[in-house]
Structures are given as C-alpha cells and as structure tokens.
Subunit: 324 residues, 4 copies
C-alpha cells in the first residue's frame, strides 16, 4: 500500500512543470498520501536532496515558469551504483512510489530503476518539443509555441521595415513541429524542418521569385535540427548565393523555455498531475500519463520513449497554400 510518494522534475525545464507539481501534491494529500519533493532530478535523488511538500508549499506556483524543484543532469544515475544509492535514499525516506515529470530520457531512467528495484514510477510528459509517442500533448509545448510566435511577430516588424529576410531558429533537434506550427501562425514564407526536404526547394523559389526587395520581407523558420544545419549555416549559404539580399539570423534560444504557462499548459498539467496519482492508487507502474483527443490516456514507458517525429502533412500543405 502506498502511503508516501515522491515527485520530481527531470531533463530540460518546461513551463507548466510547477502546475504539475502542485496538482500531484494536492491530489496526493486529498488521498491521504504524504508527499516528498526531490530537488534537482535524479542527481538530487542520489544525494537525498528531499523536501516535504504540504498543500501550502505549492500555493502560488501555478503561474510560474521553470520548476520550483529544479532539474539537473545526472551521469551518476546512469551507473548501477548511482541507482543503488538513489534507491537507498528513497527507502530511507520511506517513499513507496514516484511521479517523474520530464521527457524520454527521464522515463527511460525510471523504467530501468523500476525494474531493478520494484518501486512504481508514473511519468508526466513535459517537454517543449511535443515529440513523445502516445500523447498529443506534452507540458510546455503550448507556451513555447506562443513565446516563439510573439518573438517572430516582433521580428516581422523589423523585417518589414527593412525589407529583410530573417532566418529564425527555434528548438527541435529532431522534431519540426514547433517550427512548422509557429511558422504557419506567423505567416512564415518558408519552413525548414528535419521531416521534409521539399521545403529547401520552396526556399529557392522564394528567394528567386517570391521575394521582391522593395515590397516584401521574409521569415524563414528553421528547426534546430534541419539537416542542412542550423539557421546560421543556411543563412551563410544563402548569403553566398544571393549576395544582394539583406539576410539576418535570429536564434531564439532559451527564451522559448521560460515564461508563465498558457491556460492550456496549466490546465493539462493539472489534469495529468491528478491522473498520475490516480494511476498510482490504481496500482499502475512504468506508465506515462498522456492526453489524446482531449482525454487522459496511459502509455507504457517502453512505448512512450520511442520518440514520435511524424509531422501532419496537412499542415505542410496548408503552409504552401498560404504562400503560393
């Protein structure tokens, strides 16, 4: 029987993690469970960096970006010795089950440890890339998307004023969803993503025909992981081939991670936090809570960690249609 749970955040931070911590804590307390927060992810687990969480400790964090429990990488946790020590810390603190808020790396770690030490883990997906298998939604994506859109709207102001072409790089090493969606939302002329080559042809078309120096501006969205290299490299190439064009680069970087979460990220993080506690009470383990078609779903870690990089081709078509 579960009497005490731990909750922690792991991997890259994402807006809405605090909302999930709050929901996990409050749902647990209502169900008579005690709650421990683990600071700094798996590394904090190994070091026993624990803090008791009462309902009032998670008051006023719903709207804050980042994670109050911090997050960190841990090379030590990749070793059997590290996990052994982590387990001893959990045992010493009398923790019966764990909720991990993070991405695929975090869930892989949870799966390994759960198999080695028979302690149940439930996962809540939080990553601004929204690339987990089995869920339509991961915490933070929506906020990151709107942060990108707000930034690109500003860049468009200056692009238009100068008739310039901007290559704007957004996060997504292996996934182009953020670039594609924000690109459509901002009316980007071209969107370069790892999932599609075709857009490089669109870029050439735009540079040769679409762009008219005195009249138009250009926003070219670039996913970090586009195979032609990041925005810097692509812009360099374009500058060499079209020395007459006024080409600039903007790498949005970490402003995509922070900020107060959007309504959706707060509500869904709350829903998933509650569902995580329910799953533990239902005797589940090694399971990621997801949301698909607006409904809570349960996905085994082993499935969820197979990243999903498929792109809705309709979105690509719609983008082309808007820029023909």
């Amino acid at each position: 029987m579960i009497r005490k749970i731990a909750v922690f955040t792991s991997g890259g931070d994402a807006p809405g993690m605090n909302a999930a911590i709050r929901a996990v804590t409050r749902a647990a307390i209502v169900n008579k469970l005690k709650v421990t927060g683990i600071r700094r992810g798996y590394q904090g687990m190994i070091e026993g960096d624990f803090v008791a969480l009462r309902s009032s400790d998670v008051s006023g964090i719903l709207q804050l970006g980042g994670t109050m429990l911090q997050t960190a990488r841990s090379d030590e946790f990749r070793t059997a010795a590290g996990r052994e020590q982590a387990y001893q810390q959990l045992k010493k603190a009398e923790i019966d089950a764990v909720v991990v808020i993070g991405g695929d790396g975090s869930f892989t770690g949870a799966l390994v440890m759960s198999q080695e030490y028979n302690i149940p883990f439930i996962g809540i997906p939080a990553t601004i890339d929204n690339d987990m298998y089995g869920t339509d939604y991961t915490i933070g994506y929506e906020t990151a998307l709107n942060s990108v859109v707000e930034a690109v709207d500003k860049i468009r102001d200056t692009a238009r004023s100068h008739g310039r072409i901007f290559f704007v790089e957004v996060m997504g090493r292996e996934a182009g969803l953020l670039a594609l969606t924000s690109g459509i939302a901002c009316g980007a002329e071209v969107i370069l993503i790892p999932e599609s080559n075709e857009q490089h042809i669109e870029l050439e078309k735009f540079l040769h025909k679409g762009y008219k120096k005195k009249e138009t501006s250009g926003i070219i969205m670039v996913a970090e992981g586009d195979e032609a290299g990041g925005a810097m490299k692509i812009a360099e190439k374009v500058r060499n081939e079209h020395p007459d064009l006024d080409v600039r680069v903007s790498i949005l970087g970490h402003i995509q991670r922070g900020g107060s979460p959007t309504a959706k990220d707060r509500v869904n993080a709350t829903r998933m936090g509650v569902a995580a506690i329910e799953a533990l009470l239902d005797d589940q383990k090694s399971m990621m809570i997801g949301i698909t078609n607006e409904k809570i779903v349960h996905v085994p870690f082993n499935k969820a960690v197979k990243l999903n990089h498929s792109i809705d081709n309709n979105l690509l078509d719609i983008h082309k249609l808007m820029n023909r």
Copy 2:
C-alpha cells in the same frame, strides 16, 4: 460552377477572424476563384458594401485582433425583404458562393437564405464562448481564455496583497466553459457556472472555512450567465451575509474579445479557412467546418446551431480536488 466567392464576418468579433479571412482568400485564389469581402456582416450584404480581395490585401492581418471586414447586427436581414435585397446584391456582384465566419445566429441566417435563394454557404465557427455543437473548437476561444488568465493573474497580485476576495466575471451568458477553464488555470477558489449548482455550496464552504483573513486571498470566477445573477449581484449578497469580508468585483468585459490571436487560434483559423474553400469546391453547402480531435469535420448548419452547453464534469472534479 463556382467562379467567385464572398467572405464576411458576422456576430460578435473574435480574435482569429482575420486569420480566417486571409486563409479563405488565399485558398480561393490558388484555386482560381475570385474573392469579394463583404463589410459589416449581413447589413453590408444588404447594402452592397463589397470590396475585392487580392492576396496582398490580406497580407499582414494574420496577427491582428478584430476583423478587417467589420461586423454588425442587422434587423433588416431578419425580414424577407432584407434577404431579397441581400440576394440581389450578391447576384449583381456575380457571387456564386459565400463563406460566413461567425456564430450560431450567423449560421441560422445563412441557412434561411441558402434555402430561399439556392446559394451555397459554408460556415466557420468564430465565437469566444466555444459553445457550438459538433466542434471542439471555435475561433477566438483560446485567445479569450488566455486574456482572462492574464487578467486574473494580475488581480491575484492585488487580492493577495490585501487578503481580499474578488468576484471576477467573464463572458459566457449560457456557457461556463470559459469560467471553468480559466478558473482552473488561475487556481480560482470557487467557480460559479450556469451548468452546475453545486458550486454555490463550495462558495459557502470557502467563505466559512477556507478563507483565512490574514493569510489567504480568494478568486471566485463567475460566468456572466450564472443563474444567481452576475458577479455584482452575488458579491452584494456575500457582502450582506459576511460584512467583515473585504469583497471586490471585477468585470472583465470587452478586453476578452480583442488582442492578437494565440498560435492555436491562428493555425486553426487558417486550417478552417482552407477547409471552407475545399468544401465549396466539393459541392458542399449549409455546412459548418469544425475541428474535433484535431481533425477537420463537417457539421450541417442545422445541427451546429443547436448550442452545446455541456461541461466536462472531470474539470469540475479536478477543480474541487485542487481546493479541498
């Protein structure tokens, strides 16, 4: 065969209407259709207040709130004579089909006129209430939701500083979805909506037990249409019954309508605009374009105009769980 279409906005304005106008216009042009914008809704249709729309005319409107074509009420259109005149104007302008962007009143008008004059109408739902039957999503809801959340976050700052209780009234005469969702997103202590009576009990509980004057603040979300009356009336009652409490009212009003649309409202408005043109080319009529489970769906006007006021009871449960 359709050679020329008209597009217009009708009813209350909603952020993202411009994105839909842009998408309709560009998708039509790519498909060799000519496009006419009708200004000021059905009234403009009657008066022949038309403007030709080229691709460049809808450039740079994607991120703007409101509607470039304006919108208006029309009592005249409710008469047969008014609709007759509207039809003559469309005929004179050689318009073969119409895309109407609006809510249930707008679609009812379209249905009547379409039956009387055999001119196909396709609808795109745009209303911040998100209460149309047959679609998960209507243009503007998402932006309004985030505007409410932003405003309530500010009100929370001042509520907390004074230990005050605020009754915050949001739009939704017959639908509590906006109040419920924003309430969860803002950590509202109580949420009063027309779909549920139970929350008035929660309010009493909160006022008697939950609220501790020196330590806590209170946000009570109130949907316009709560049967106990709006926020003013409820606050008055509470003030009479609890004269010691520091009670304030904030009616968010029209700031919920405007503003630059969120990413989702821009992308979905774009998708629905494209789908509307496709529907016309597919020989459809009297059909609303919707989005359900992230997919485009087609809903006959006659079904769509039956408003949907059901609330996800899970959301109510989650709210209670967070505030027990």
Copy 3:
C-alpha cells in the same frame, strides 16, 4: 545610532513595491543594519506581525506584482491608543527606524507617529495615481499605464470591428494623469478628466461630427473621478441623447493594479529603496524620497502629502491636435 530597521507597505498595492522591499533590505544589510519586515501595514505594526528579512528572503521578488509583505487598512492606527501599541511593538522588536512604502495616507500616519514617539520614518512613494507633490514619479504608475494601454488596444480591436463607441474608465479619483496619458498613447478620441471641463465639449463635437458610424470607432477615456460621474453615468447620458449610437462601457478596475512591474518601475523602486537607507544613515526623518528630472530628491512628508493634481496642459493640447 541605527542598528535595526523595519520596512512595510501600506495603502493600495502597486507593482514595484516588492522591488522596493528588496532594495531597502539589501541596502540595509550591506550597511550592517538588521531588517524586519512588517506584514499588513500599520495594522500588522500594531499586532506585531513581524518577520526577519535576510538578503535571500528578497531574492526572486523583483519581478513580482503586489507586495510580499501584504498591505491593509487600519482604523485602529488612527487612534492614539493604536499608535501607542504600534510603538510598543517596534520598541519590543528593537527597531530604530522605519521605511514606509505607500501613498499620502501612509505618510500622514508616519508623520503623526514620528512626532509622537521620536522614531524616524522615511517614505517611498508607491501609488499608481502618480499624484504626490514633489516627485515626478511614484512606484507603480508606469506599470499601470502600460496595463491600461494594453487593455485599450484590445478594446480598440472590438470597437473597430463593430464601429462602436467605448467609454473606458480608468483609476484616478482625483487625478486624470493616467487617463490623459493612456488616452494619448491609445489614440483615444476624447479624454474626460477631473482637471478639465473642456473635454465635454470635445465629446459633443465627436458624437455630432467626428464619429461616422460605418467607418470609425471611438474610445472615450474616463478618469474615475470625472465630475460628470464615472463612465457608466456618462455613457447612460450619451445613450439617452444619441439613441442611434452603439455605446459600450468598460471599467478596467483592478487589472490596473497587478502585474509584473515594467523596467522603469523596477529600476526606480530599486533606486528609491537604496536612497531611503542612505537618508536614514544621513540622520534624516519624516522625509519622502522622490525622483524629479531623473534625480533622487528629498521631500518633507508635510509637503508631499499635499496631493498634486495638476495636469500638463501641453498634453491636453497635443491630444486635441491629434483628433482635430
């Protein structure tokens, strides 16, 4: 010699109060002073609701709206007995001097108490009305101004979409500065403020000539304290006299108070917090720190509490010029 100071916030909350608390605390600590925070204004002083403040206690509050020390009204402090008790609490806590962050009422209280009990008070002006004598600037005004502008930009979207006239009421019971400045910033057609009658003539001109129903919208800014009554009352009168016009009212209310402070409010609050500690170390008392022509100034409480309601007539002229 001063060894320990207290700091508190009083009166209506204003964005930037936290930045001032942080600056007072840190500047005091660097100067080897101990710091006590008094919670809930003068009422907390009477009740001895004190909290020790270290440098780390004020970390991460710079960007938060509201006040971490809360604020409250105190009828008790208006009595000699209340102030006696407040003094005993300060004495018991070994507090040698006090920094009060608030408005004219707060400074009047400080002046009375300082004269009765010979304990030095230094004031930092924080009020969104910006109506203190002897300083160009009060904490919170700048943030409130930008909150108003953001809200009115949204209202303009919907006003323009419908060709409507909006009466927008902003704070300022006796001072029209916020209405005047935000009105110019938003391109308001008419601005009704307590300092000038002339604008009612402008309103009539606008309603009769300036406004053209199908083409234009109207934003009429109204300061709470306009002698013709608030926005509701004026709009009612206009509706009676011009029944054909589509007139709406929006009362911005408490969303003007909260929110993360602007850069200027954070920087000036920091400057004034440091200057308050310097003033105490310089053996000053009963003095308000102000900023005039971007320089720190010192104004005796007795002068500062005479409210300043003068309006820059140039701003009124400029407004008229933009709308002729």
Copy 4:
C-alpha cells in the same frame, strides 16, 4: 513659406516610429500643410518613392511596431550625385521642408544636404540605444528595454531551474545603457558594458564566490560592444577557466527592435512629432527635437550627432549594492 513637408524614417527601425509619423502628419495637416511620406529612407528620396499622407492614412498605426514608411541604407546618398538627385526629387514634388526620424547617421545626412541645398530639416531621434547627445530620450529605447526585461525574466526561469549561468547579449555596440538598466531591472548578477572595466572583476568574484551551484543561478548581461568581445567570446573564456560551470549564451538580437511601443514611447513620439512641425513653422532648421527633464528641447544636428556614451555611475553603484 512652407506649404508642403515630407517625412521619412531612416537607419535602424525603432518601436514608436509609426507614432511619430502619425503625429507629424496630423500636426502638419492641422496647420494647413500638405504631407508627403518618403518610403525607404534616403534611398527612397533619391528614387522619388513618395506617397501622399492624409490624416486617415496614419489612422491605426500608433500601436504598431516598425515603420510603415520602411527604412533602408543608402550608399548612393553619401555621394554628391545621390544628394543632387534626392534634391531634384524633393523639388519636383514641391516639398519645402523635411522631418527625418532616425539616429545620428540620418541627422548627419540631413545636415549635409541642408547645407548643400538650403532645404530645412528637423530631426526626431529614434534609436533603441538612447545614445544621442542633448536628449534624455530617444524613441524606441523604452520598448526595447521592456522587451529585454521580459526575455530575461523568461531566461531566469530556466537558469534557476538548472542552476545555470547565462550570458545574455543585448544591443548597444558602443553604449551600455540598455544592458545596465535591464540588468538592474532583472537582478542580473553581473553587467558587462563598454563604459566600465570594473565589472570584469565583479564577474570573477561572482564565479569564484557568489555562485553556489546547487542553490543559485546567474544572469550576466553583456552589451554587444563590451571590449572583451560579445557574449559568445566571454562565455567561451569562462568555460575554459571554469569547466565545471554550466554556462549558456543567449543573444537577444532583433526581438529587441520590434513589438508594440510602450505608453511612453507612443506619447513621447507624439510630442516630438508635434514639436517638429512647430519647429518648422518657427522657421527652424538642422535641429533635433529632444526631451530632457520631460520638456521638449532643441539641439542643433551638429551637436546631437556627437554620440553620448556616458553612463550614470549611480546606476553602477546601485547594481553593485544589490549583489554584494
């Protein structure tokens, strides 16, 4: 006698330029002057890229970032032949006087041309660097400052979550004002600016003593022009010397340029636009309009173009005090 004026924007775009264009246009029209807009700066002047401006043409631009008249570089204008052609275009269009909105380069050009061709120019300073001599204020600085603060607040969320140190590069090739002010507003631990060497010592102190890995984060603001090189180069050096630290770089870039102007930028741009027309009617020329101590001032171009890079040392002291 002046009957027709031209207005244009030149150099880098800045938020508030549109507000200035609107004010110049409307103030001119009220004074019975005709107004021509020159598109794309001096290059557009040479090419005769002119557009007539009526009052309604500048309606609805007050709140938009960028410049509706666009801006461009012009190598041609640096030649006598280019200026000769520009003058012929002005003469052909019967333009009697010109208002130029831009920075020091733009005013230098205006001074040269005015001397060669006896056509009066009045300047309005618009540059986000706020480094013009003779004015406290230039259009766009305030908005850029708040954009930086908003971005750094987001970066702080992620920095804190990971205990990371971020080097954040902001604009200001030769001026550190933006870095210094935003640094204080965001509670930056260290601020590296071209005007002061001392801060590199502060950086070393912070890295050796102030920063505690598990507890704290660090924001190091870097002005583009810091002599140790940009943020990339400094971060590289720090990484080499402190390989154990988790160091990241964020270059804010062009998001600092765009966006809807703040209230102050809108109001001051309006005031300066009106003052520019007044100056022309007062028979002035080769004069920049400035604002000092909140009053309009007039500064000869020849003085204004001597850039002002002095920093308020009090601000540096205050920053140190907050981080000791």
